[in-house]
Amino acid sequence: MRGRRLRRFVRQNSLSLVFGVLFLAALVGQALAGLAEFNNQQVADGLATVSLGEYVTSADFAVDVTENWQSEYLQFLLYVVLTVWLVQRGSPESKEPGKEGLETDQRQKVGSYARPDSPRWAGAGRWRTGLYSYSLGLVMGSIFLGSWLVQSIAGWATYNEQQLSQLQDPLSWIGYLGSADFWSRSLQNWQSEFLAVGSMAVFSIYLRQRGSPESKPVGASHKSTGVSG
């Protein structure tokens, strides 16, 4: 009985479970590869090597992890928010032209239009409904800003460690926020995310992935927008 319930749970949540496992496996791989690279450099410089525990709590590891996190969350934040107002004719990722904007309460099933199975805050009214109506963007935006802040602090420490090893003065945190290193790390990630999202919106007009909800049905017209299959 218990085994059947577990199997059903795994089947019904396979997408998030598989991505959770892939994330952890990749993070462990990054930690091990990063540790080897870090210690190679330490040995070459005649400095003390570090343990895995020391490495995963170091600024070097933190900046490498968070510079990627912030850009991914920025990408999804922009995608979630901009697709409210911007459309791409023919893309399954877009609303149909003419439906731009926040839409009516009736269509969004909020306030008095909430249904019995709607989330409680959708029908609660006032600030609860207001907050819940933007909760996805708010959470994605908070994770983006939090990751970017941690990147700035860890990147600052890593940069200053390098400055000192080259017999140069360290920078203040505010000084680091205006440095080429901070913006190079940020922008090199942002450009790839914007390219991936933009090309996905355009490719999905003309190309198909049979069975994927991220694609239109194989036989759907190039002109049909907001249809997934």
């Binding site: 400095l47 200053n160 460690e161 140069q168 360290p170």
Partner: protein, 132 residues
């Protein structure tokens, strides 16, 4: 409230991993720098050389064509005075004294002097009389 504390914890973790904000490592680095200047002032070249990074010691002996314990005392290392500021990031540190600036790094055996008797130059690394 929970969101704020999670956010605060993230920043705290970032500050901890960044290795800034002093701590035992900074105090040890400052002690090593002080001991080095004290040894030079006391003409104790052997102790001063024990506190040099391996690469720095090698460079000094090669350029002076003499053992470190005598060469280090010929370098006119200034009287440093008190520590004005110590900044440490990871395994690197800079100790600013009233009369001199030193750079240190953390090795297997502890903090060692990488460069000493250093003068700042605009937009360039410090110009150091002794460096590795």
């Amino acid at each position: 409230m929970r969101g704020v504390s999670v956010f605060g914890a993230g920043v705290l973790v970032a500050l901890t991993v960044s290795g800034c904000g002093g701590g035992a490592g900074s105090a040890q680095a400052a002690d090593v720098a002080r001991s080095f200047y004290a040894a030079v002032a006391a003409d104790d070249g052997a102790t001063a050389c024990d506190l040099l990074a391996p690469q720095t010691l090698r460079e000094l002996e090669e350029s002076a064509q003499a053992p470190c314990r005598t060469a280090i005392l010929e370098e006119d290392i200034p009287d440093a005075g008190e520590v004005v500021k110590l900044e440490r990031y990871g395994n690197q540190a800079q100790a600013r004294f009233r009369g001199d600036t030193a750079f240190l790094a953390e090795f297997e055996q502890g903090w060692r002097i990488v460069a000493v008797s250093c003068r700042p130059r605009a937009d360039q690394p410090y110009d150091c009389r002794v460096e590795g």
